[in-house]
Each structure stands twice: as structure tokens, then as C-alpha cells.
């Protein structure tokens, strides 16, 4: 039995157990694996986004993503960090139908102070709708396995739950994590509504996002409801 580098203090021994890593690859090796395009084959997908790609993320965020792999890979999860570089193997549009995303994203012409978070807003709904899984911010340090946070319940046909979300109060949730089964009807409506709330210009041509909004048609997306 391997020995832990750090011992668990007596007062926490009833709350934690040492389970040595089964994925013993180095950070660099796991990071390299995240630069590859991995086709989707199940709903156990962990999605994240960094506009310039995983190799250009801050290192502490890279380590977060590497740890998502270490914790959840053995349970059958695949981690993908999407980006907005058309030449990248993980360009978001290589995993999603282009007409599901705002044209400004597809063309790489979104601008404005919050372009990263707002790009993530679109990808979050689109990834879950199209493929299922969990969408996570790269700033999340993972501690507990996704199966044990929520997925066992979401995949259990006897459980009523199809979506999992961090809850703040009322109907207000936090935006750094959401998990859902593929094609969930709530996620679909959330996405369609979010899509039509951006300016028509973002849906089709270059514009700064976050201002001058009106509800306009998002025909490519609203057909999802048909």
C-alpha cells in the first residue's frame, strides 16, 4: 500500500481516506493529451473554454483542468477545453453545429470586456444540449468526483433529476458549473432564450457585445424548439 506524502490529521480521519492516484501521468503529459481532438462517444463529458486554447491558459488553470482529468478520468469522463481558434483541434465549432452558435463567435469576431465569459455562456448551453455532461469554469479547483457530486443521480433512471446546478437563493444560481443530460428540455429553453437576448448583430456580424440589446429572432436556434 502506497504511503501518503501528507498525513491526515486525527480530527479529519473519519472524513477523508487516502486513495492514491490511479492516473500517475505528469501534468505535462495530461496537458498534452488535452490538446488533442477527442470525438464525443458518451454523455460523460467535462467541457471548459479558454479562448486561446488550453496551452495558453494561466498555469494554475491548467493545473485545475489536469486535476479534473485525474479525479474523473478513471470514472469514464473525458475533459475537453474548447477554444475559438479555427485552426485548433479543439475549436468549439468542431464539436458543435455552427448554426447553434452566434455567427460572431464562429467568425471569431466577438469583442468587448467580457467576451470570454459571454463566449462561455453560449458554449455552456450548446455543449450540454448537443452532448450532455458538465460545463465547468477553468477557475474551479476540483475536489470531489463528478459522479459523487451529481452524475450518479442524473444518470439513474429511477431518479427524477436531469440537471445539476450550484444554488445561491431563490431561482438564482451560480454560473461556474452546470451538468445536464443530453438534450435536456430546460437547458434547451435556457439556451434559446439566452441566444435571442443578444443583439442580432452578434448573431450575424461583428459588434461589441453587452450593450444595446433587444430581443430579436435567432432563427437558427429557435428551430430547436420546433
Amino acid at each position: 500500500m502506497a504511503q501518503s506524502k501528507f498525513s491526515i490529521p486525527a480530527e479529519y480521519r473519519g472524513q477523508l481516506e487516502f486513495h492514491p492516484l490511479s492516473d500517475t501521468r505528469s501534468d505535462a503529459t495530461i496537458l498534452e493529451s488535452l490538446t488533442k481532438h477527442v470525438p464525443v462517444t458518451s454523455e460523460k463529458n467535462i467541457w471548459a473554454f479558454w479562448h486561446a486554447g488550453v496551452t495558453d491558459m494561466p498555469e494554475w488553470c491548467q493545473r485545475n483542468m489536469v486535476d479534473w482529468v485525474r479525479i474523473n478520468g478513471p470514472d469514464g469522463w473525458t475533459v475537453r477545453v474548447l477554444d475559438s481558434n479555427p485552426d485548433s483541434p479543439n475549436y468549439a465549432v468542431k464539436y458543435l453545429p455552427a448554426d447553434l452558435l452566434p455567427q460572431a463567435f464562429v467568425k471569431g469576431s466577438m469583442t468587448g470586456p467580457y467576451v470570454g465569459p459571454h463566449s462561455s455562456d453560449f458554449l455552456r448551453g450548446a455543449c450540454l444540449q448537443e452532448h450532455g455532461g458538465a460545463y465547468v469554469d477553468v477557475g474551479n479547483i476540483p475536489i470531489r468526483s463528478l459522479d459523487r457530486i451529481c452524475w450518479r443521480q442524473l444518470e439513474d433512471p429511477k431518479s427524477p433529476f436531469q440537471v445539476a446546478i450550484p444554488w445561491m437563493y431563490g431561482t438564482i444560481t451560480a454560473n461556474h458549473f452546470v451538468a445536464a443530460r443530453k438534450g435536456d428540455p430546460f437547458i434547451k429553453r435556457w439556451y434559446v432564450q439566452r441566444f435571442v437576448l443578444v443583439p442580432a448583430e452578434v448573431q450575424s456580424i461583428d459588434v461589441e457585445i453587452g450593450t444595446n440589446c433587444s430581443s430579436t429572432s435567432g432563427k437558427a436556434v429557435t428551430t430547436m424548439l420546433a
Binding site: 494554475w60 477557475g139 459523487r148 446546478i165 431563490g170 461556474h176 434559446v192
Partner: protein
């Protein structure tokens, strides 16, 4: 976005008081409108939760309350802030994680670093590190760790940061369940279609 007619029913949710009353005490340095614009995705979610079935067989109210597994974000994802508080959290957490593991265990810094790291490892499902994006008065931990002079401090050998990183992937929590809550039925619902203004 938040000026869309679709968000008219959400106007009364657009304030800082509700979140403060629920112990989310960020100190914003921008106005409500700017923050709400930033979190328009969340307001869009909230609006779907309020929709009644208008004939297409889908009730957002029912779906939210019956099919969404909600977990307590403060306890599960902002455990650090729950202990240290939101104001000043970023710098305080950054400092605590650099405390050497071989420093005096009776020092206040050591005790606090130990308390927070073991709390996260035993009772959090993840720790969201935020950038703040200039929305808050304080510099947030993500922005601090982005600075060149702080490179590697999220896992520096011999510090509580290394213990946290190690524990995340080598220790498994004994607790059977995370802290779930019953998604509450919204006090006000909407008799509207998804895109009906």
C-alpha cells in the same frame, strides 16, 4: 441584454440586497446594471424557472422544482469565502496558501491555513476561484495568481497550497452526499411563452 422586454419580470431581482441577505457579500465597485449584464445568463436561467406551461407541455416551474438537483454553492463551492468572508478573500486566501507547512503550528497563520484547507478537502466539492473581472473592489484570487510574481503559488512545494492540490486528487471524502437543497418554487410565475415579451 437586461433591458430586453423579456427581462421586465426580472427587474425586481436586479439588486444587490437579495444576494447580501443570503450571505453573498461581495463588495462591487460597479453599478447593479453592470453586474446584472455580466450575469445575464443567470437571469435567463431564473426566467425559465418562472415559466408556466403555456400549452407546449413544458413547465419551467415544475422542471426546476422536480428535475433540477440543486446544491448549496456556499458550502460546496465557496467554502473558502464561507470561512474567511467575501470582502478581502482573494488576498487573504493567497496569503494563507503560501504558509509553510513546517512553520509554527501554534501561529495564527498556520491555524487558519490548516482550518481552511482541511475544510475544503473534507466538505467542499470544488472551490471556485474567481477573477472578479473588475466588478469587485477587492482583487480576486484568480487575478492574483495570474500575476507573474505569483506564478506557481497555487501549488508551491512545502506550502498549504501543495497540501490542497495533493489532497484534491489523493484524498476521497467519506461523506456520502454533498449538501443539496430543494429548488424552491418561485413566488412569482409567468404565464408566458419562452420568447413572449
Amino acid at each position: 441584454m437586461i433591458e430586453s422586454p423579456l427581462f421586465v419580470p426580472m427587474q425586481e431581482s436586479m439588486n444587490f440586497e437579495d444576494s447580501r441577505a443570503s450571505n453573498f457579500t461581495w463588495e462591487f465597485n460597479v453599478d447593479v446594471k453592470t453586474v446584472m449584464e455580466y450575469i445575464s445568463q443567470i437571469l435567463a436561467w431564473s426566467r425559465v424557472c418562472m415559466l408556466e406551461d403555456m400549452g407546449d407541455g413544458f413547465s419551467g416551474v415544475d422542471y426546476w422544482t422536480k428535475h433540477v438537483l440543486a446544491f448549496d454553492v456556499l458550502q460546496e463551492n465557496w467554502g473558502g469565502e464561507m470561512i474567511l468572508g467575501f470582502p478581502g478573500f482573494g488576498q487573504r486566501m493567497a496569503d494563507l496558501l503560501t504558509v509553510p507547512l513546517d512553520s509554527d503550528p501554534e501561529s495564527e497563520e498556520y491555524k487558519e491555513a490548516s482550518k481552511i484547507v482541511w475544510r475544503l478537502l473534507t466538505k467542499s466539492s470544488m472551490q471556485k476561484i474567481t477573477h472578479g473581472k473588475g466588478l469587485t473592489k477587492d482583487v480576486q484570487l484568480g487575478t492574483i495568481w495570474d500575476q507573474p510574481e505569483n506564478k506557481g503559488k497555487d501549488r508551491a512545494p512545502g506550502t498549504f497550497a501543495e497540501l490542497l492540490r495533493f489532497g484534491c486528487v489523493n484524498f476521497v471524502q467519506s461523506r456520502e452526499s454533498v449538501v443539496y437543497v430543494n429548488a424552491p418554487r418561485p413566488p412569482k410565475t409567468l404565464q408566458k411563452g419562452l420568447l413572449e415579451e
